[in-house]
Point group: C2
Chain length 360, copies 2
Amino acid sequence: MSQRINNFSAGPAVLPVEVLEEAQNSLLDFNGTGIGIMEHSHRGAAFSGVLAQTIADCRKLAEIPDDYQVLFVQGGASSQFFTLPMNFLSEGETADYLVTGAWSKKAVAQAKRFGTAHVASTSEDRNFCYIPETAEYSANPKYVHFTSNNTIFGTQFHKEPETPDGAPLICDASSDIFCRPLDIKKYGMIYAGAQKNLGPSGVTLVVVHDDLVKAGKLDIPEMLQYRTFAENDSCYNTPPTFGIYFMGLVFKWIMKQGGLKEIEIRNQQKSEVLYSYLDNSNLFRATADRGSRSLMNVTFVTGDETIDKRFIEQATAAGFDGLKGHRSVGGMRASLYNAFPPAGVKELVDFMTDFEAKNS
Amino acid sequence: MSQRINNFSAGPAVLPVEVLEEAQNSLLDFNGTGIGIMEHSHRGAAFSGVLAQTIADCRKLAEIPDDYQVLFVQGGASSQFFTLPMNFLSEGETADYLVTGAWSKKAVAQAKRFGTAHVASTSEDRNFCYIPETAEYSANPKYVHFTSNNTIFGTQFHKEPETPDGAPLICDASSDIFCRPLDIKKYGMIYAGAQKNLGPSGVTLVVVHDDLVKAGKLDIPEMLQYRTFAENDSCYNTPPTFGIYFMGLVFKWIMKQGGLKEIEIRNQQKSEVLYSYLDNSNLFRATADRGSRSLMNVTFVTGDETIDKRFIEQATAAGFDGLKGHRSVGGMRASLYNAFPPAGVKELVDFMTDFEAKNS
């Protein structure tokens, strides 16, 4: 076994070692079938079993009620940005968006293609370094959309926004799904590209209430209707079988860690190690407001681009990969998704402490 | 190493053993980076290198000229069925479709959402058991679409259809891409879901001429415009990185086998072993007309459903998996994609010979 390094990538991102090892074992022969997991027909018994188990485990892990569908689609969150309004929004109608970063803005832009997108709140005034506490909703929004975690800006909603009566809450949870318990019943729909907390890129998890499935338009291509996936167990056409299999292994891995409550404690502890160092540092500081800080993506700067650059170079050379921040914030970003090992955070803080001593 | 069995699945389907082994080695540590292939950022050096190499190898393997783009999209061929007319067909305009099976029909149904779909030829009169030799095109089609290989019915075009001047030829080659050399210059666009000849399901290869990229509509979601993928090296959003990596390994594997010419010879030899047995059998017969037979999917029946059923049961028990034919044809189907080993076909014929002796 070769040495694995600390991978702080914002996504695709670090995955659990034992899940990777199990996937490795299934590539040439899944479960004694003599056929690799990627080589099984999506309509055969082996994959059908995987699919059913993955859905069952997802329901169990997140306590998803029976009147919600668990679907696997393709195209990433970026495809959901247009698929959502294409299904639920028409000319003359309004959907409300909470704008807390670059991804929310992209979602708004797609909604405008189909109807009116009302920005009910935004934190753009301070470069998205906080989550607004209030929102001004339109009179009768078709739905309210928010981004639960903002990878680029290191902020996260710590409770669901209050929404107007009757407006389904729709959440892009790509970068924090299953990082903590969540009450699905508050949502009309949650979706997440897999490549941060769930598995390889190329599969998107959609958990959607039956009422929304039924409400979707019928005069759009079948491949863009949620009901097509709901009515065909996500197998109307060939689904990304390996991604679904892998996501199933991740669900089992989370349950083995103790489930979402235990994962939340671990994520709080992991991020706290870094935030607490940052709050006491004379060189580095966190960029997000305290109450809005993300458990998943910790963004920080020194305030001096030359030192930021030097830090990233030296950290990379020392085996801390993927720390360069997004250009819209600059500085550094340490992504600490579910699978990121606690020891790696301590190693980073030790390295930063050492760097600070040498650069103060 | 456990025993691998003969996998005749129509897709997802058998993949090359040495490619699976290389992928296995990259899951926890790609190329000595200390990070697994699925865990690398799509914008980092490691994956950028994989992407560039995969495109370069695709161009080399299929001799793709510079004025064609090599793109990786999601959603399978089923998503191309609507994306194509959404981009290239408007109300009042006509696109021509050659209808040679279930997939062509699905493509026609999507085109009708956007404009007029003219069926220029069809072989539905004899349950799609042949490829029509002629077509009656409309006056000025925006494009001509055909399905080069029909997985369900075991038929295949053995040369490109002649098309009206100026109408780009668009091909769904999901089930036979790179099974033989092809002259890309005859096409406006070729697309293929990966899960038969190229890799795992969840990534679709699109080879498209620059003129079509430019001709695509601008008033549709960015994620459905080919130019979005062309202008962003398929990385406008996170692409299915593992599928692209895997496809790149398959391109290298085909080149190592001698390239497309050599692969064609091998595919001809493999299918000939089975067709020649079928033509001499007193129990089994091929269902497709001789001149239209597929190199990839060999469909056959005994003419007696009870015997078909018994054959499939006994074959499955003996380690020949995935032989059950599609319900629209019945009987059996042996899919012999590029990665299917020649020895497996001989083993099947031996088994069939034995079965025939016992059941005549």
